[in-house]
């Protein structure tokens, strides 16, 4: 538990912009507090780089408490690094050994092009959401009372678990097919479990799947790596639920 200080060597992907080829660059870093988070360790590196007049390493981050889904590093071959059920901002340096070499890359997928260094473009996720990740209800002061429709606690809890996805893209970066299935299925499952979402269930599953293909994400082959690396523990059950919804839509679809 006590704070210690370690020395590490960082191998970091540097890429000026989308057009640049990019390469790995080594940075030794001394006296890193084991109490600091991984991103705070990068802050220290960047302060040193700026002081030397070099460009700091660009990386995405915002809330730094594991909920915004902005941070997106691939560390030592794992999305969000070696710890489980954490985002990169919740990964702490106590997970690393003194003298260790740490490799840091951006999330890699055709649908996530690199913008600069470790920052990637995840707009493809937003575009999938725009195709069906919603219940078509306008703002209205006259919807029915929130308690008018009881929802089984188990369904509400499962919907909540699916809805905790933070849209970081760790599942895509981890998947050998770069599939977005865990992300898409979590949203489809959330709404399929709630009466409010059932009305548009058929269109939703078809439209979101179609957009996933358009964006260039791969297919799901049920290898399950996504579930292991997901910072929010989104379960593979959601993919099963997605497939059931898709079958229903395909077989019973009215078109």
């Amino acid at each position: 538990m006590a704070e210690k200080f370690i020395n590490v060597t960082l191998k970091i992907w540097r890429q000026k912009n989308a057009q640049d080829a990019g390469k790995m660059v080594d940075y030794p870093l001394k006296n890193v507090s084991t109490d600091s988070s991984f991103l705070e360790m990068l802050d220290v590196l960047n302060e040193e780089l700026v002081a030397k007049g070099e460009e700091p390493v660009a990386f995405d981050h915002d809330c730094r408490e594991g909920i915004c889904g902005m941070c997106s590093l691939y560390i030592n071959g794992e999305a969000h690094g070696p710890d489980r059920a954490v985002t990169t901002c919740q990964l702490h340096m106590r997970m690393f050994k003194d003298g260790e070499t740490i490799t840091i890359e951006p999330f890699r997928a055709t649908a996530f092009p690199v913008i600069k260094d470790l920052i990637v473009d995840r707009d493809s996720f937003d575009r999938i959401m725009q195709k069906g990740g919603f219940v078509s209800v306008n703002t209205s002061g006259n919807t029915q009372d929130a308690n008018a429709l009881p929802i089984r606690k188990e369904d509400a809890d499962n919907a909540f678990d699916a809805a905790t996805c933070i849209g970081c893209g760790g599942c895509v970066a981890t998947c050998k097919n770069a599939s977005a299935m865990l992300f898409v299925s979590a949203k489809v499952a959330q709404f399929s479990l709630l009466p409010q979402g059932k009305v548009e269930a058929q269109e939703r599953v078809k439209n979101m799947l179609h957009q996933m293909d358009v964006e260039g994400f791969g297919n799901c082959t049920n290898t399950g790596a996504c579930e292991v690396e997901c910072p929010k523990g989104i379960s593979l059950d959601n993919i099963a639920r997605f497939n059931r919804e898709y079958m229903k839509a395909a077989v019973l679809g009215s078109e």
């Binding site: 802050d43 915004c68 902005m70 919740q90 959401m129 919603f134 078509s136 002061g141 909540f160 709630l194």
Partner: protein
């Protein structure tokens, strides 16, 4: 010169909003298609407003500095959202929520706004459930509630410790639907750097594309600022790293008055700071005070032993613990409002009872909750004679189901297991009640420019109650702005498209480019964070939880000094015409260095203690309330709205007198 007209409708408090809605102007659906609205920020207020405007037929442009609207910092709100549904049959009502909020804000909020907030609170829950927001439910399938500080009812709706996330994803879904329909044009990774004012009206903004560095002009018939608070002026806060005051500050400098900048909420339950490497502080939800009890040791010898590691907190006997909130405030106990709880923690730590190495930590203990829930669950599960170990295990299970993500977060950060040892907590900067001054319609002193959510000042007075930020953000976005903005836009139907080629746009764009050039060309020796950390230290030490005239005067001078050094010795590597994270931070810190001075000036002028603003000179000296904050209604019962005047230290004060017609002004007591 703008005047302060709050435009509060006449009539009884419960009828004002209905009457106002009946009387304000509407825009014909066909005309809405020709009217543009810019919404800056995509949190609960901005996201909800943008989606609602588009549903009504307006053309919307939505801006956020994050890559996606779903990442706005509303997402990090944990504990819940208040609504006067009275589902618990415990005597709740719109009036009671209104009363609690006005009292909680230490009688420094505007009555009419607060009543409206309470009035639409129930609609918010209905709306969110209709969108598919998965709130917590009980076994009968109905919505569950919990309690928050400063109130005596259970009116907080929640989704584990992730309520903000679920509400924001609801608003984001609604927004996504409109983007998919082409009704909203989204500008992700764009930052607003200037407001454009033409003939006295807000007509657009200048943005910087954070990927390409391109400076762009955008015109509209109205502009909504929904960019959150300015807590990062303290460097360390529970805000996101990117949270900033720039859009609000630029709007202020273009003519919008800035109200009550010194009203800051220091949240009592955050993870204590550990070292110099620290980049932010993490909140542990106030909902934990439902079940956790706050204490420090009664005797200094135990404090020493705990700090040395020779005594574990779990070993300390009940009679040797000081549950100081329960002792000082028996009526509200651990659920006193945030400002009261924070000051009480500081009082104990200043007296030497802090339980960690820095002396700035108190315990939040779940021991008795484990027992209470454990026994209940054992009965429910049919275990007749549960062993102590079984009770404890059941109790932990229940706590896990309520707060699992918070306990996990705590363990990841501190490397200590809160199921086995009490949490350590300490107050940290969390929320800013101050913000851009707005009237009843949420319009600023610049016609056509609105401010919503944490960015405005209106509803929380000098202290915000827990679970009220989410309520206010969504109320402003879903149920207030969609009506009030029409009142203004009804006069804009003949305006037609607004050109971005006018001298005002050219000039605003030039000002943005000039500032960027100036920043890039300082070519000094110190980093942005160097200046930000120095500013933060001055703010925390002299404009923090306890303030006095001497410290505040010094702070104003020191901040000015840091600002001068910033503009002569800042170093930014890289170029401006591409992604440059140091340049982004520099622009934000430049604004904080001005805002901080106005903040201190406001705190200096307000020679009373109210809510989160505690002046050491203004304390009750005797009686039952001895040592508590002392408000001065005779001299300070007003909103301080500051007008920009070339430099923050020279800002001009305007006063909006607060009238309390429906609630009697009283000393706030939680004893």
């Amino acid at each position: 010169m703008a005047t302060l007209d709050s435009k509060i409708p006449t009539g009884p408090i419960a009828d004002k909003w209905t009457k106002h809605k009946n009387e304000i102007n509407l825009v014909n659906p066909a005309n809405k298609r020709h009217i543009d609205i810019i919404v800056v920020g995509t949190g609960l207020a901005g996201g909800a407003a943008a989606a609602s405007f588009a549903e009504m037929g307006y053309k919307v442009k939505s801006f956020c500095y994050q890559d996606s609207p779903r990442r706005a910092h509303s997402i990090a709100a944990q504990g819940g959202i208040n609504a006067a549904k009275n589902y618990q049959n415990d005597g709740d009502s719109n009036y009671r929520l209104f009363y609690d909020t006005v009292k909680g804000g230490d009688y420094r909020g505007r009555e009419a706004n607060v009543y409206r907030l309470a009035e639409v609170s129930g609609n918010i829950i209905d709306q969110c459930v209709a969108q598919g927001v998965p709130f917590a439910r009980d076994y009968g399938g109905l919505l569950d509630n919990r309690s928050f500080g400063g109130v005596l009812v259970s009116r907080t709706f929640y989704a584990k410790g992730q309520t903000g996330q679920q509400l924001l994803l609801g608003a984001y879904s609604a927004l996504s639907r409109q983007i998919g329909k082409g009704k909203v044009e989204l500008f992700g990774r764009h930052e607003m750097l200037e407001l454009v004012v033409v003939d006295g009206k807000a007509r657009g903004i200048i943005s910087r594309d954070l990927v390409t560095g391109e400076i762009k002009r955008h015109s509209a018939h109205a502009v909504v600022i929904a960019t959150g608070g300015y807590g990062n002026v303290f460097f360390l806060s529970t805000n996101a790293m990117g949270s900033n005051g720039t859009a609000a500050w630029k709007t202020h400098k273009k003519g919008a008055y800035f109200a009550n900048p010194c009203y800051t909420q220091i949240h009592p339950t955050c993870i204590p700071r550990s070292g110099d490497h620290q980049s932010k502080l993490t909140l542990m939800s106030e909902s934990l005070r439902n079940d956790g009890r706050i204490w420090v040791p009664k005797h200094l010898k135990d404090v020493e032993a705990i700090r040395k590691g020779t005594l574990k907190p779990t070993e300390l006997k009940e009679e040797d613990r000081d549950y100081y909130l329960e002792r000082r405030y028996p009526a509200f106990g651990n659920l006193v409002p945030r400002d009261v709880a924070s000051r009480a923690a500081k009082e104990r730590c200043d007296a030497g009872y802090g339980v960690n190495q820095t002396g700035e930590a108190v315990y939040l203990d779940f021991k008795s909750a484990f027992q209470r829930y454990g026994k209940e669950k054992a009965l429910v599960e049919g275990v007749d004679n549960p062993t102590p170990a079984q009770i404890l295990a059941f109790g932990k299970e229940v706590i896990e189901s309520k707060y699992g993500n918070l306990f996990q977060m705590y363990q990841k950060i501190t490397d200590a297991n809160p199921y086995e040892t009490p949490m350590m907590i300490y107050p940290a900067v969390h929320y800013t009640m101050g913000g851009i001054w707005v009237d009843y319609n949420l319009m600023t002193t610049i016609p056509g420019c609105y401010a919503a959510g944490e960015a405005n000042f209106s509803d929380h007075g000098a202290n915000r109650l827990g679970a009220s930020a989410l309520m206010q953000g969504l109320a402003d976005g879903y149920f207030v702005l969609p009506y009030t903005i029409g009142d203004y836009l009804a006069d804009e139907i003949r305006t037609g498209p607004i050109s971005t080629e006018t001298p005002e746009f050219v000039e605003a764009e030039k000002a943005v480019k000039d500032q960027i050039d100036k920043l890039m060309n300082i070519k000094g020796t110190k980093t942005v964070d160097h200046f930000h950390k120095r500013l933060g230290k001055v703010m925390w030490d002299k404009v923090g939880m306890a303030r006095n005239a001497k410290g505040l005067t010094e702070a104003m001078e020191e901040i000015k000094q840091i600002r001068e050094e910033f503009w002569s010795d800042l170093k930014i590597p890289g170029v401006a015409n591409g992604m440059n994270t140091e340049l982004e931070k520099a622009g934000r810190v430049a604004d904080f260095l001005e805002l901080g001075e106005l903040f201190a000036k406001d705190a200096l002028h307000r020679n009373e203690s109210c809510g989160g603003h505690f002046r050491e000179e203004s304390v009750e000296l005797d009686g039952e309330q001895k040592g508590e904050a002392k408000r001065d209604d005779e001299n300070f019962k007003y909103v301080a709205a500051w007008e920009w005047n070339n430099t923050p230290g020279e800002a001009i004060l305007h006063k909006e007198d607060l009238k309390f017609e429906f609630i009697e002004l009283k000393q706030r007591s939680y004893k």
